[in-house]
Amino acid sequence: MSAEPISHCTRCVLPSTFPGIAFDSSGLCSFCQAAEQEAPVATARQQLRTRMEEAIESSRGQGEYDCIVAFSGGKDSTYTLQQLVRTYHLRCLAVTVDNGFVAEQARENCYTVTAALGVDFLFFRPAPDFMAQMYRNSVVAGGVQSPASIKRASALCNSCISLINNLMVKFALQHEAPLIAGGYIGGQVPKDMAVLDLNLIQQEWIRAPQRDRYTQLFGPAAGQFFFIRQSLLQKQPSGRVTVINPMLTVALRESEILASIQALGWQPARDTGRHSSNCRLNDLGIAIHYRQHGFHPYVMEVAEQVRYGLMDRAEALAKVQEIPDLAGLSPQMERIGIGLADF
């Protein structure tokens, strides 16, 4: 980490430690400068929404469910599930992957919200030993994820996200659902993931080397979570599923999202830190990421919200400058088998 004082973009709060960033003489970062060349955010999101709605209409009524929803019980995936059920009237199967660190309140939210919306719900917990090994080696071993993944999330989150994304494809194939929905917001994934036509054969050659690394690092059980067997792939004759992320097509402040989902009985968890509404491991990921890379792993998404007027700059700055104290995270470190000397 640099000993230089960290400065932040005068508009969006991205720090001088962020990879590849440059600033002009007024302190505006290169990401904000690039955004000025783009279409207005309302226009861009409306175009994405139109594309998503076309995908929804062409997928409706084909399988056992219309859509598998990656449902963490957090605020964004709760809002997503609500939109898909109440606005688009999709037959959804909500799936929560329990990584072993789901907050009790988040677990309650899962049951409360799915009951309120009247959707089928699956709570899936991979073996705790496997998850601990995955998390441990995500921190300790080098080269688990691509170099650019550090811009999007912590090492812990990136591995978990990979696992969840792959599991959602498996559930979609098992239940013949043509759609998979996630609750990603701007800055977490490329904007084009608002609607992504996922060619499963293409994904096989893209992900094969990654799966090989996972098997090597996380053990043979990784195959169960990161491989899709040919027999399962053949259940979708088109070889495709469509991934949608409705949150990328709307412009909402956090307060609007919370007001909407609290009407479903959703309650905020109190033990998940500032940046997660469901996971008690998240703060450890943030603290490790900051120590290794010198910037907050949520800064990209926070910056995008500020850039598009969805979060006040002062609030954003406070969010990305508050780094969880590792001293208070010993129980999480112990559970995944790492110590301070490991990173």
Partner: protein, 86 residues
Amino acid sequence: MNTDLSFKIADFMQKQFLFTFDGRTVTAETNLFESGHLDSFGFVELVTFLEQEFAIKLSDDDLLSNRLNSLASVTAVVEEKLSRVR
């Protein structure tokens, strides 16, 4: 290989995906998925960049061909596309 084209694509890859074509560990022929420098999110970003920057449309065949995996092969695919529209 069209060096201007290759330079532009390499510049994007290096800045976006945070690695360097150093001529030893990563070369124009390195399969970037096998080397771990590109992942499925990166692939989405790469395809978007190529289509917007060069005003081309990558077909299913292009995406399924397993050719978009190194600087050299990506450049070749873009060259072929551009030669067809000239």
